[in-house]
């Protein structure tokens, strides 16, 4: 039964959930004795008011596009990949190994190789949970959580014992060679005469993220594999009956998911820090969950949600800088978005559905009366 029109399902319900989440966030700001209106103004000015702010907003958004797409692809196969964090961590290791392996002459050569490295390592880290889910029925949520922790330990080991240059105290790799440094948006826009902040970290990866959105859309809605993934996600028995192999779909979907999460590393590791440090992912893997939920697992929705979270992230940093509101406010907002657009979805959906039913019934009865 279709309780409501499609636009209400795709736009209205998430929008209401989002408004509730933000309203509660405003109450939280009030409760800790700050002014929400001033806070929002500061956030907007700090993240959208200058090309510097935009540069950071889009830099964060790039991270979240990758992790959001990763979660979204798994969602389409009805799997909840909480392991984006670990997959992006391992992706960072892959990118770092590639960047440090050769004295790269030019970024255009280094970038594809690093992308391959990041995607391979990310996919590899998703492979074991996927295989265990497909073959042994181990719950993917639990295994991917465990792999987040194992991944953090693996990275810690590599940074402390293997990749740290001799004589250096902090657990990090050496700086990547000059030739592997990615051009920032400033470098890309300067030749065509557009001024963009030199200091902001947004780089060519943002364009790759946009391309990734398009490719994921193509994959999910325009290919046979995407059709199989969606069919499997809707009904496993039906998919099986149609000759779709569950093992193949689970493993392939998780490999794509892990590769996307791993690709995030070309932004934060290769593009920004230009070396690999501990905890370089900084929770972006988890924000991917909120982004995918908010974007309804559609690449375009993921893109919009990622930019929104990029704005929140950069705005939150500005808040922490200029007011006494800690950065953790963003974690709260993120939690509320996950809660209302994900777990409490029915709380909004049911009344909206009832409203549309009531509207339809009253218009029908009016027609009958005429």
């Amino acid at each position: 039964m279709d309780g409501m029109p499609r636009w209400a399902d795709v736009i209205l319900v998430p929008l209401i959930s989002l408004i509730i989440a933000f309203a509660i966030s405003a109450l939280v700001i009030l409760a800790i004795g700050e002014d929400p209106v001033a806070a929002v103004k500061l956030m907007v000015a700090g993240s959208l008011g200058s090309t510097y702010g935009w540069g950071y907003t889009l830099y964060y958004a790039t991270n979240f596009i990758f992790t959001g797409l990763a979660v979204a692809v798994a969602f389409h196969a009805r799997m909840f990949n909480i392991g984006g964090e670990g997959q992006a961590t391992l992706g960072g290791l892959g990118v770092a190994l590639v960047c440090l392996a050769l004295p790269w002459p030019h970024w255009a050569l280094a970038l594809p190789a690093a992308m391959l490295g990041g995607a391979l390592f990310g996919a590899a880290w998703a492979l074991i949970p996927a295989w265990l889910q497909a073959k042994r029925g181990s719950h993917i949520v639990i295994t991917t959580i465990m792999f987040n922790f194992i991944g953090a330990a693996v990275l810690n080991y590599f940074l402390v014992n293997v990749l740290r240059p001799p004589g250096q105290m902090d657990p990090a790799t050496a700086r990547f060679p000059e030739g592997s440094n990615l051009p920032t948006l400033h470098d890309l826009l300067a030749p065509i005469g557009i001024e963009f902040s030199r200091a902001a970290p947004v780089n060519v990866t943002f364009l790759i993220a946009l391309l990734a959105c398009f490719l994921v859309w193509l994959l999910i809605w325009r290919t046979r594999l995407g059709y199989e993934i969606r069919a499997f996600g809707h009904s496993e028995p039906a998919a099986k009956y149609a000759g779709i192999s569950p093992t193949k779909i689970i493993v392939v979907a998780m490999l794509i998911s892990g590769a996307l999460a791993g690709l995030m590393a070309i932004n934060n590791v290769m593009g920004e820090s230009e070396r690999l440090v501990l905890n370089s992912v900084e929770g972006a893997g988890f924000i991917g969950i909120a982004v995918a939920l908010m974007g309804r697992s559609h690449p375009f929705g993921v893109l919009l949600a990622a930019i929104l979270f990029g704005f929140l992230y950069q705005g939150g940093a500005e808040l922490a800088l200029w007011t006494s509101i800690p950065r953790e406010l963003i974690v709260v907002i993120q939690a509320l978005v996950i809660l209302f657009t994900g777990a409490l979805d029915n709380m909004v959906r049911m009344p909206v559905e009832r409203l549309f039913l009531a509207l339809r019934r009253s218009s029908k009865s009016r027609q009958a009366a005429e």
Partner: protein, 336 residues
């Protein structure tokens, strides 16, 4: 390794296993009733903060404990609302609760105490002190003799060392946690409530047919889960350490979840799983001991991640199969 070192390692095993055990039993109640709970971490964290904060303000650790339990119960209620009332995704709700606790605790801590997301240190009655069992060598003996406690214990005989260091000297919450194991077993396997609770996790429709409220039972289970997580969190902030620090649960909720799978959702096995994982944590703190036993150094990162690796191995079914309650994770929809 001498005997005293062994006793010391076991002693910290018990200390570190206690929060795991409480959280693990919390998860056991919830998951046995068919509600997956990956929000154990968040509930512990919230309870740790509120117990620490209220204990500091009131100066009474017991009021702090109650506040911790209350905060954990509120999050439990939220989880119940999302996953039972509105039939939402239990895993997503758990993730949301973890982030909510991670963010809110720091936000409120900063707003109340302005110490960078921590509470001030707890002293005196604002903290659970170790209980000295009769005849054990404890701080009072040390004070009377005017010498450090560790010296007195190292001079005592092995039985006395064992008794004073390992059995005596823990906070009351440690003993409560250990008692919670038989209590959980008794409730689940020897009472009518327990039978119904287990049934609702296996086949809610059957329970519903018998005229018993599925929703009520599940909320009860989620509530018990909140109480136990609350005690676990309060233990972290008021007994194991003196005050709340940001993210102090440090993944313990997930280790508890791992222990729950390791224990295959059974109380006594939960005790052994939590002791095992507690031992691993204790050994990670004493890597010199590990090296002494096996003769070569083990990377501390490996020790840290062993609980997670073991859980994956268990989940893979290579060491016996872990079968979760059958209706776990599925919201119950009454047929109309």
């Amino acid at each position: 390794m001498d005997f005293l070192t062994l006793v010391q390692v076991l002693d910290s095993t018990v200390r570190l296993a206690t929060p795991l055990l409480l959280a693990c039993l919390a998860g056991l109640f919830s998951e046995r009733a068919g509600i997956f709970d990956i929000g154990l971490e968040g509930k512990m964290l919230a309870a740790a903060f509120f117990s620490g904060a209220v204990a500091f303000v009131t100066g009474s650790v017991w009021i702090g404990l109650l506040a911790g339990i209350a905060s954990s119960m509120i999050l439990s209620g939220l989880h119940g609302l999302a996953s039972i009332t509105f039939r939402g995704n239990q895993l997503i709700s758990g993730v949301a609760i973890n982030f909510l606790a991670a963010g809110m605790t720091v936000l409120i801590a900063q707003s109340w105490f302005s110490q960078g997301g921590r509470t001030p240190s707890l002293i005196g009655n604002a903290r659970f002190e170790g209980i000295e069992l009769p005849f054990a060598i404890g701080p009072t003996d040390a004070q009377a003799a005017g010498r450090p406690l560790s010296e007195l214990i190292s001079e005592a005989g092995p039985v006395m060392q064992f008794y004073s260091e390992l059995i005596s000297g823990h906070s009351v919450l440690v003993y409560i946690a250990l008692l919670a194991v038989p209590a959980t077993w008794w409730i689940l396997f020897r009472t009518r409530f327990g039978l119904r609770l287990r049934a609702v996790g296996e086949n809610p429709a059957a329970v519903d047919t018998a005229g018993i409220s599925v929703v009520g039972l599940r909320f009860a289970a989620v509530g018990i889960c909140g109480v136990l997580c609350g005690i676990a969190g309060a233990y972290l902030a008021t007994a194991l350490q003196a005050g709340f620090v940001k993210d102090m649960t440090a993944g313990r909720g997930y280790i508890a979840l791992a222990a729950l799978i390791f224990a295959k959702w059974r109380p006594w096995y939960a005790l052994s799983a939590c002791l095992l994982f507690g031992l691993l944590q204790a050994l990670a703190l004493r890597s010199d001991v590990v090296e002494g036993i096996i003769g070569f150094p083990i990377p501390v990162q490996l020790l840290d991640s062993l609980p997670y690796i073991l859980t994956v191995v268990i989940l893979a079914g290579f060491v016996g199969k872990a079968i979760p309650p059958r209706a776990g994770g599925e919201p119950y929809v009454k047929e109309r």
